[in-house]
Amino acid sequence: MTNSFVKGFIADLFYFPKIGRGVHCIWQRNFLYFRQTIFTSITWIFVEPLLYLFALGYGLGRYVNQVEGLSYAEFIAPSMMATSGMFVAFFEGTYGTYTKLTRQNTYQTVILTPVSPDEVLIGEILWVTTKAFISVLSVAIVLTLMGLLPLAGIIPALGVLFLMCWVFASIGVWLASLAKSYEWFTYSQSGFIMPMSLFCGTYFPLSQLPKYLKYFSNILPLTHVMMSVRMFLHGEVTSMFLINIIYLIALGAIFTNLAAARFVRRLVF
């Protein structure tokens, strides 16, 4: 039993989806829907990080002198971009995908056409990545206008954040393809996403963490995002960021393959 589970897991790891133009069709379908609801979506994307920024940056920040040579608002500005993208990717990947997979039967209909289940899955992950990155960009614009983001280094930082959106999109869609009910997402949200938004060098430097928590924190994808984004924006750029990027790419690839294998089996069984 355990043996076959491990074998299945390894097989899933090496499930490389075959894709073609269908990926674009799925992306377009989702974009069309997004365009209809763009006003509410974008407003929400702007409002949420602003709330954090005011509460933490200007409220709590008054009591904090400086963190790593930055005002507290400046220090948490990159975290605003990262957590916003992470949350959007996770929510859209889990709740959004699961709804289309179960309640709306959207994908069951799509696979009656030349678009393959593989393409549906990749199109979905790409869309979720896009939507999350739109939220990263929106927050970046606001923060730049407020003078909280230095323009130098913003391009590579956004590159890392795009990778991050993909990683959380694939994790989200993977969970959606495993889930038996919406409850699954509540657990992963409060057990995984929420803690990560707090303990990955987002609101205080990693050096403040106790030693063992620090090791643990190094496994989490968001830690690697924060390390490299901070390096590009405020630090001295060393080749360390390569480790962060390789780690993120590996995670993205692993979860994309796992999600694809599961999703396809769930759609056509």
């Binding site: 133009r21 269908g22 069709c25 377009q28 379908r29 069309l32 829907y33 209809q36 709306q104 039967n105 959207t106 069951q108 209909t109 799509v110 696979i111 009656l112 056409t113 030349p114 678009v115 393959s116 759609l267 056509v268 069984f269």
Partner: protein
């Protein structure tokens, strides 16, 4: 060789010993059939007989456990994506996208087939008016009635002008007008050379539409043929139905069982009139207050084959 190839071309679907297991449960247990170009072929059976599962294997929404399946000359196990580009499917659940309007549903679906935007819009408008839905083009799916949703689903299946269309219970849950309207639409599609393959548990529908059909029960084929042939070989020309008391059933059955084909359904005894027999012969056999004579129908075949008991 040439003639042989010609004969091959006429076969649109060729299924041999199709089997489908869901875990330990066998949903389809070795079904074989051939569908020819231009005909309307029916897959009949009670709920849970394996109709939808068989269908799903043919259009790639379920994996084939074992057996051989060729659709439009292509092996369904290896060329399912190619097959899907030349067929139209009306699934049992409409699966219309609630996030979009009727027109957008068709346009998005057309995009999946790679139909260019302008051509897709024209085709979608043409189909909406053919299905008498042009006034609902900009309406959201939730505002459509059951019949309208079914028509829109049929329109969606036609978007790529397929030569082979699958219809899984096309008129289940529709009112009589909507049903007849869909039948007429299907007949005119067939006249234009489209091959239709449908499942239904309405015998009336099968008699109206199907050139040939198979009846499946518990995952197996139990009968195959033209509706009229099936009626004649399984029941006969006419049916005489007697309402009798439960205690009399045994007596009358023993009296007629050597001469008439019959079926007992609770307090009703059905005698099937066939060959040289006449209705009068049958009527004289049983004394009953309530006698009905009628033409034999596919319904009688179905009840005779799959039994009177509820079997889901």
């Amino acid at each position: 060789m040439t003639t042989n190839q010609g004969a091959e071309k006429a076969k649109v679907i060729e299924a041999t010993n199709l089997v489908k297991n869901y875990g330990d449960r066998r949903a389809v247990d070795g079904i074989s059939f051939t569908v020819h170009a231009g005909e309307c072929f029916g897959l009949l059976g009670p709920n849970g007989a394996g109709k939808t599962t068989t269908f799903k294997m043919i259009y790639g929404s379920a994996q084939i456990t074992s057996g051989e399946l060729f659709v439009l000359g292509l092996n369904a196990k290896s060329h399912i994506q190619k097959i899907k580009s030349s067929i139209g499917v009306v699934p049992q659940e409409n699966g219309l996208d609630p996030d979009f309007t009727a027109l957008e549903n068709l346009q998005i679906y057309a995009n999946y087939f790679g139909i260019a935007e302008k051509a897709a819009r024209d085709r979608a408008m043409e189909l909406l008016s053919m299905m008498q839905l042009e006034d609902y083009a900009e309406k959201s799916i939730d505002t459509l009635s059951g019949g309208m949703k079914r028509r829109l689903t049929l329109a969606r299946a036609l978007i790529s002008k397929p030569k082979l269309i699958f219809l899984d219970e096309p008129t289940t849950g529709l009112d009589p007008q909507a049903r007849i309207w869909i039948w007429d639409e299907l007949r005119s599609l067939q006249k234009q050379g489209t091959t239709l393959f449908l499942t239904t548990h309405y015998m009336e529908e099968a008699e109206e539409l199907c050139d040939r059909l198979i009846i499946v029960n518990k995952g197996r084929t139990v009968a195959e043929g033209r509706p009229q042939e099936l009626i004649e070989s399984y029941v006969g020309r006419e049916v005489v139905e007697f309402e009798i008391g439960p205690k009399e059933v045994e007596y009358f059955v023993s009296k007629i069982k050597d001469r008439f084909a019959y079926q007992v359904m609770r307090n009703r005894l059905k005698l099937f009139v066939r060959g040289q027999q006449t209705t009068r012969d049958a009527i004289n056999e049983v004394s009953s207050q309530n006698v009905t004579m009628r033409k034999a129908s596919l319904n009688d075949v179905f009840l005779k084959i799959s039994g009177y008991e509820l079997n889901d």
